[in-house]
Symmetry: C2
Subunit: 165 residues, 2 copies
């Protein structure tokens, strides 16, 4: 059974766009490390490492490289996986569902859960990314980091990648 979406406009951010990419390709771009590394971070940032264990509790780990050459590791785990349809992951838990140490010093210094939803629309996909936060402060921080612009540019890169595949 699919989990419900608890979107709350005071706590959460959402991004939606229809793209001319079949959802099976969007799914591959999100779940194959070799593909994800090509689009996940808006250039000139890069994603230089990616581990994916595609099951509930499995690792989702990336390392971002800033234009200045600084590494930013991110680690979390998957929570729900419905192929070609829904992918839920969080940085609030580590692999095996271990809660994340609250003062851990990773790039993501606020906990969130990301819900990627894919629905077929014509020959393309309605792509919805919803990010849940624990509190309004985390939400504001994420928005101020450029959530909408960042996810939009990354999605542009995903579309460009899909056209090359």
């Amino acid at each position: 059974m699919k989990s419900t979406n608890p979107f709350n406009p005071n706590l959460d951010l959402t991004f939606e766009r229809v793209i001319e990419v079949p959802r099976e390709l969007v799914w591959r771009a999100w779940t194959e490390p070799a593909l994800l590394k090509q689009w996940f971070t808006p250039a000139p940032w890069q994603t230089i490492e990616c581990d994916i264990e595609l099951r509930a509790g499995g690792v989702f780990r990336t390392v971002f490289l800033s234009p200045e050459g600084e590494r930013f590791p991110n680690a979390g785990c998957y929570l729900e996986i419905i192929e070609n349809e829904k992918l839920v992951w969080t940085n609030a838990m580590q692999p095996g569902f271990r809660p994340t140490f609250s003062s851990n010093e990773t790039h993501a210094d606020f906990p969130f859960t990301a819900i990627i939803s894919l629905a077929s629309q014509g020959s393309g996909t309605k792509y919805t990314a919803t990010v849940l936060h624990a509190d309004a402060a985390g939400c504001k921080k994420h928005a101020a980091m450029g959530f909408h612009d960042g996810w939009g540019k990354a999605l542009d890169q995903l579309v460009a990648l899909a056209q090359r595949l």
Copy 2:
């Protein structure tokens, strides 16, 4: 696919016992609110409220009543559900997988994930409860609260309940 068990003796607590209760009954005791309220807290503590939405991301909420009449609410969500075999839940996320506000003032002031594993053994069940913590401090705090004694007494109550059913 089942998640792996990331047990780490420096961070985690585990409790194992073979009980003369079929695992289908243990499962019911863990997943039916009317039953759970009868065994979950060692007497004279009581569990006076219980909400269960048995799906990944679904609510698991209880309210404990101390012998002095003080209410202690607990809220979290389920992470993995394999009927009669494995139940995983956490207080580190709220329903819909929303991360728990880190300074929230509930009874559980450290995040944990509980993994209940049931395996048939003769006419009974090998019952294993593993609790994962974010750090050693959380683990020590949970141990000092009487983890082994508490889970043992609660399980005695579960066995007594099963004999009445």
